[in-house]
Amino acid sequence: MLPDYLSNILTRKGGKRLLDAHSPRKIRDRPRRFRDFPIIDLDRCVNCGACADACPVGESDDQPPALEITDRGPVVHRERCIRCGLCAEVCPVGAIEVGALTREVEERITPPKPARVVVDEDLCVGCGRCRDVCPSDAIEVDDTARVDPDRCVLCERCIEACPVAGAIKIIPMDVEELSERWAERLKEALREAKG
C-alpha cells in the first residue's frame, strides 16, 4: 500500500507531477474529430429543409426545434441543439459543418421529404409561371407542369405563383411511407459512398 502511494507521490515521475501539477489556464485543443455545433453555409444551402426534418430535437409547445427553417434559411438554436451531427449527414449539398467531423462523414443521405408537390393535370393550364419561380428548377412544363420530386425542395413558391387555385397541391406523406423512404435513401447513399 505505502509503496504504491509513494510511487504516485514521491518517485521521480510522481514528484514531477507533484511539483508542476498541470496548470490548464490555456484550454486544450479540441479533438481531431470533435462534433461541434453545426455551422450552416447559407450561400450553399438550397433551403430544402432536410436538416430540419432529420434533427432529433423537435419543437414543443414553447420551444422551437433545434434547427428551424425561417425566411432567411435554416437557423440553429444553440440552446436546443444536442450536437448530434445528423443534420450535416443529411444535407444534400454539404452546406453544414459540424466541427472537424464533417470531413469524415462521407455518406450523404438525401432525406425523404415529409411531403410532395403534385400537379393536378386536369386543372393545370400550362402557363409556366411555376417553372419561372421554382428555385431548384424542379418543374418542367409541356402541356401541363411536371414536378421532379427529387429536385423539389418544398418551398411552396409554385403554389403561390400558380394562377389556378388548387392546381398545385402539397401532400404530406404518412409515417410508414416516410420510413420506407428513409430506408431507401440510406441504401442509395451507401451505394454511392462505396461505388
Binding site: 507531477r17 507533484l18 501539477a21 498541470h22
Partner: protein, 282 residues
C-alpha cells in the same frame, strides 16, 4: 498593553491559522496531482462568508443558535491568548477544549436538522480528544514539574524536547491535532454522509465565525504541540515547525479515507491506551 498584545496575538493566530489551513488544502491538492487553490483561499472563504446573507433555519433554537458561533470564537481566542500569547497555564486550555466539545454538540442540536444533530452527537462522542489532551498535559506536568508553557519551555531548554521523554503522550496530542484538522480520517462529525455535520445549517457570517474559530483552533493546537513537545521557543522557528506539521498532517489526511464513528472512537481509545500503558510501565 495587555489588550493590545491579546488583539495582536489573536489576529496573528487567525491569519497564520487560515494560511496554514490553505497550505493544508494545497498540499492535498498537489498530492492529487492538480494545481489546487491559492493558499490564502481559506482566508478568502472566511471573508466571503462574512459578507453573505445569514438566516436561521426554522428548526433552529433561536438565541442559542446565533450564540454558538460567537462563543466558539471567544473560546478559541481565549485559548490562543492564554497559551500562545502569554505562554500561561495549560489547564485552562483543557477546560476550553472541553467547552468546545459541548459547544459543537450545542451547535448541532440548536440548528435542529437531522444532519446537524447527528454531527453534533458524533463530535461529542469522540472521547479521546479530551482524554488524550488531559493525559498528555498531566504527563507533561509530571515530567517537567511545570503546568505553564513558559516553565515547560525552560525545562526543555535544559533537558531536550519532551517528545523524547514522553513519545506516546506526544503521539496522543498529535492525534488530537490530526482529528481537528480538516479532511481528517478520525473526525466523522463532518462527513459527507450527513452533508457537513454540525456545520450544515450555518449560512453566511455564522459560518464565517465558525471558520474563524477553526483557524484559531488549528493555530492554537499546532502551537501548543510544537511548544510543549518540540520545545521550540523562537517565533520564526515556530512558524516553520508549524508549517512542517501542517504538511505532515496534510499528507496523512490525503492518503486516508474517513472512518466510521465506531472505528474512529476505536482508534482514539487505542492511542489513549498506548499512552496509559507507556505511563504505567515507567
Amino acid at each position: 498593553m495587555v489588550v493590545a498584545d491579546t488583539l495582536l496575538g489573536v489576529t496573528e493566530a487567525f491569519l497564520v491559522g487560515s494560511v496554514y489551513l490553505g497550505l493544508h488544502r494545497k498540499v492535498i491538492a498537489r498530492i492529487q496531482r492538480r494545481p489546487g487553490p491559492p493558499i490564502i483561499q481559506e482566508f478568502l472563504h472566511t471573508l466571503k462568508f462574512l459578507m453573505k446573507e445569514a438566516y436561521a433555519p426554522i428548526t433552529s433554537a433561536g438565541f442559542l443558535y446565533w450564540l454558538v458561533p460567537v462563543f466558539n470564537v471567544i473560546i478559541w481566542s481565549s485559548a490562543v491568548t492564554i497559551s500562545a500569547v502569554f505562554r500561561g497555564n495549560l489547564l485552562p486550555f483543557f477546560a476550553l477544549y472541553a467547552a468546545y466539545k459541548v459547544l459543537s454538540h450545542g451547535a448541532g442540536v440548536s440548528a435542529g436538522s437531522t444532519y446537524t444533530k447527528i454531527g453534533g452527537v458524533r463530535h461529542a462522542i469522540m472521547p479521546a480528544g479530551e482524554l488524550a489532551l488531559a493525559c498528555s498535559l498531566i504527563s507533561a506536568y509530571f515530567i517537567t514539574g511545570h503546568a505553564d508553557v513558559a516553565g515547560i519551555l525552560a525545562w526543555e531548554r535544559a533537558h531536550g524536547p519532551l517528545i523524547e521523554h514522553a513519545p506516546f503522550s506526544a503521539l496522543a496530542f498529535f492525534t488530537l491535532v490530526w482529528v481537528d484538522s480538516p479532511y481528517s480520517p478520525l473526525d466523522p462529525s463532518k462527513g459527507y454522509d450527513i452533508v457537513e455535520g454540525y456545520l450544515t445549517e450555518y449560512p453566511g457570517f455564522l459560518r464565517s465565525l465558525m471558520y474563524t474559530a477553526e483557524a484559531l483552533k488549528f493555530y492554537c493546537e499546532l502551537w501548543v504541540f510544537q511548544a510543549v513537545f518540540l520545545g521550540i521557543s523562537d517565533p520564526a522557528v515556530h512558524l516553520l515547525a508549524m508549517g512542517a506539521l501542517t504538511i505532515l498532517l496534510a499528507v496523512l489526511c490525503a492518503v486516508t479515507p474517513i472512518l466510521t464513528p465506531y472505528q474512529a472512537v476505536g482508534i482514539h481509545v487505542l492511542v489513549a491506551s498506548l499512552m496509559f500503558l507507556d505511563a504505567l510501565i515507567r
